[in-house]
Symmetry: C2
Subunit: 227 residues, 2 copies
Amino acid sequence: MPTAGGPTQKGQCAKRVSILDAAAEVFCREGFSGASIDEIAAEACVSRQTIYNHYREKETLFMAVVQDILDRTNAALFSILATFPKRADNLEDDLTAFAVRLNRNCICNQDGKFIQKLVETEGERYPELIKIWREQGPGKIDTALSALFARLAHAAPLEIDDLDLAARQFLALIKADMQMISLFGEAPTEEQLQTSARNAVKTFLRAYGKVKTEQASQKAGALGQPA
Amino acid sequence: MPTAGGPTQKGQCAKRVSILDAAAEVFCREGFSGASIDEIAAEACVSRQTIYNHYREKETLFMAVVQDILDRTNAALFSILATFPKRADNLEDDLTAFAVRLNRNCICNQDGKFIQKLVETEGERYPELIKIWREQGPGKIDTALSALFARLAHAAPLEIDDLDLAARQFLALIKADMQMISLFGEAPTEEQLQTSARNAVKTFLRAYGKVKTEQASQKAGALGQPA
DNA sequence: GACCGGTTGGACAATAGTGTCTAATTTGAC
DNA sequence: GTCAAATTAGACACTATTGTCCAACCGGTC
């Protein structure tokens, strides 16, 4: 028996989760200054005092929310990076599926939008926010992708001079349509995710593919490519 | 004589400008809720009452700031779009120079960052913000670029199936490096602007160029492209 | 049933911000 | 110098928010 008497730890934990979720929601909607503890308490169906019991002050709560979301995002990111394609066959399909997963579970989902918004709005005032974002969050996607492309370039007909640059451009293309869509608040549909990722990967492979696809070479041939 | 007596309209105008500049600064740094009128007044070297004389309430001031910056950005955007390359010779250089201008004077400058931040943070609460952003601001770059690429594709060896997509991807590539850089608060150096734009344009042209550059065809040939 | 930690609602002081009002002051045109 | 509009500093009422304190109150565990 861990601690004798009182409500179970499961109850406490449930409260904590409830508070963190509500706080994330409100902080994201209203920003740090605009969010009030009362509003968070109401949304979490919890008394204000309970929040102050768990988190000493507003800033503590804020940091806990950020850390919580970064942990989740980090876990998702880790598992998704493990699915980066390693072989050349079906490269377009595999890369597209990878891009869809990245967008759906890391970048365009609730957590991803929250973190991005936070870094952008509160980054100036909480520099350590940017620090932990770079170390634990989506900030490290770039370098991770860079390494994965390096490995892939050995197995697949890719010609990549600057791996870091390619990784950044891959990400930029992946996110190109998404920011537009998610401005309207709603999450992108599965179909939007698919076509957007496919478009991005097609362009990326046209730019970095060593060997042209059959269609492309046919096109190029028909249009009179220099011998 | 417009109005007799009293401080000149030039004086009034100077105050207005001073207030708008300071308000933009503070709103951008603190967000709408976090910004206080007193802080803005101090930064503008103006009494609080003067602000209330010019702008009835905080929200009025906020909207005036947004409108002011959108006007400036719009003018800059208009004049830059007019410099979009029309001929095929020196396409890479011309597109690169265009991209640099776009980034330097519309997207990465103070105004551009402000508007982007604003739309992202206050867009949910002020939907009309998104509306005027789409109608008067950078939100319309996409469609404008799409039309320009359509025209360019007639004169240059570009093969663009989906013009809107190409425009979005061009912008995404253009901005790929910038967001990273401007997260740190400081404006990108001229050198960063140049290399970033050149990288983006190179990739874009590799993806959408009908005719390969000599280097590229040599490379492709040397590496055994299918006949 | 009694205990005990966590929870609740409400009262509370302290602080900060908005928007108004006023009297004194500055500014530039005449 | 005079005048009128604009500006200023400060006081002010009002509201919202943070963070604390406390008595009452659950809900398991013994």
